[in-house]
């Protein structure tokens, strides 16, 4: 199914838990145990889950701030340049035009389009960065090889997957560890 050649026999081990709280608890314990390459899956967002397994970051917020500032500069720059300059050497030329006796640099009026471009750029950045940081679109992912996951992950199942790429991973030991956390069932995840 997958073109790349896997270096490990399986992708990882997956455990299913009964509730969001159980998953949160299990994820936290796995992280404290030393597992680092792991992921939790749930049909609804769980408050504190990313923090519990060491995934918390503010990448989206930072990207949005940068996008918003770019939109602000771009919007105000566009208005100012087109309304106040006669252009630079024929390219990028503006058109300074007296409109109703208002000053060429009518900053009160320019604030309005500037506001809109700020919001537009920030919003687009939010979506694009979310998609990029999540690695979407993702046509194939090994976790879907688990039947329980396919049928329940987006509906009512809570799953924790420790990947074989984790340095601490050891198929037998990790399986036993997850069983010990009170998992409903534990499955190997094929590549």
């Amino acid at each position: 199914m997958q073109a790349s050649t896997p270096s490990t026999p399986i992708y990882g081990v997956m455990a299913e838990f009964r509730s969001a709280d159980a998953l949160l608890e299990a994820g936290g314990r796995a992280y404290r145990e030393g597992y680092r390459v792991l992921d939790a899956f749930s049909p609804i967002p769980i408050h504190g889950m990313a923090e519990a397994i060491g995934q918390a970051d503010k990448k989206v917020q930072r990207a949005v701030l940068a996008g918003g500032l770019a939109g602000m500069a771009g919007g105000f720059g566009l208005c100012t340049w087109t309304s106040t300059t006669e252009g630079i050497g024929g390219i990028m030329s503006g058109y300074a035009l007296n409109v109703g006796g208002r000053p060429l640099l009518s900053w009160p009026a320019f604030i309005v389009p500037t506001f809109e471009t700020t919001i537009l750029f920030a919003a687009i950045t939010a979506v694009v960065s979310m998609i990029a940081f999540n690695g979407l679109p993702l046509p194939y992912h090994p976790v879907f090889n688990v039947e329980r996951f396919r049928d329940h992950a987006s509906q009512d199942g809570f799953f924790l997957c420790i990947e074989a790429a984790d340095p601490k991973f050891d198929a037998e030991g990790t399986r036993a560890f997850l069983q010990g956390l009170g998992a409903r069932e534990v499955n190997d995840v094929a590549h």
């Binding site: 408050h47 701030l65 109703g100 009160p108 009026a109 604030i111 309005v112």
Partner: protein, 399 residues
Amino acid sequence: MSERLTTASFEAPAGVDNARSRAMVVGAIGLIATIAGAFGSSTQFFQSYLVAFVYWTGVALGCLGLLMVQHLSGGAWGLMIRRILEASAKTIPLMFVLFLPIAFAGLPALYEWARPDVVAGDAMLQRKAPYLNATGFIARGIGYFAIWSLMTYLLTKWSQDQDGRPGAPYDKRFGKVSGPGLVVFGLTCTFAAVDWVMSLAPHWFSTIFGFLFIGGAGLAALALVITTMAQLSKTSPMSGVFEQKHFHDLGKLMFAFVMLYAYFSFSQFLIIWSANLPEELPWYLTRLTGPWKVIALLLVFGHFVLPFSLLLSADVKQNTKTVVPIALLLMVMRAVDLYWQMAPQYHHGAFHFHWMDVTAFVGVGGLWVAAYLHFLKGRPLLPVNDPYLREALASHGSH
């Protein structure tokens, strides 16, 4: 959380008393200095006094408005600050007493429409005389204060009753007064803003002015609430109650008001600037000339750009060390803003700063803060018998 706490568990700490005494002293010094100044120039006295009066009344009114909003909307943020809002709203009768000197002695010094010689030579003021006259001004003023005091009395009294009745169900009267109360509040505040502030420039008019006044009052009120919370959270009993999430919620609300106020101000400015009409534009021309222009730029920066940029960050909103300086900055900027709106009218646009502008502000403010802390001290700091308190104390944000 099974242990049974009583109203005594949330008595205000002793620090409140000390702060009240200090505020009293500061207020007394300020007022004595201002009154002494009045012998020099009674006109200047009233001009400085009016700004201070409008400012501190606005803070109390903002708290009354938020009090009604939180009774209607519910939510943890409102329960946590209800007692602070109530204490602040209770100062409204005091502000009525401070209104009397303006009403009965200060009108000619302050308002052109109250000077018969000016009105005699001004057709527009004669046309507006059915509204802009001394009797109407005083009667309306008494009416506003009567309505505000009644609403405050009812809401605080029922809240006090609740303290004495553990296990009582939620009192539906809060909502029943707050709903219509907010409408009446909006109307009275709008007309108060027209009477007290807008009519300083009797030819000028702006229909958004009531919104501006209410927005500014709400902003000052939130800044006061956040500052008070931060002080209270330093000691028992509130040290374990006010948490980061509460500061976060209120910080967000303050952030929203910063934007809302900027939105109202900018809308008013842009509409008047674009139309460029001779009956409206002079108000801005005056305020964008000479030193007033410097103050206007200071306002753009200190009232909007700086607090807006800082409050974007969730960490800044949650941390009392960072959010309190912003709240204090906003309280100062509200005062500067009112001064910028009102004072240019006194001297036909000329810039004129007087030491009484400061002493009157400090004097009225000291007195107001002392009264506020007195009322805060008088009651437990949380409505312990409110049936929603448990949810409020335990509430986790969903995001």
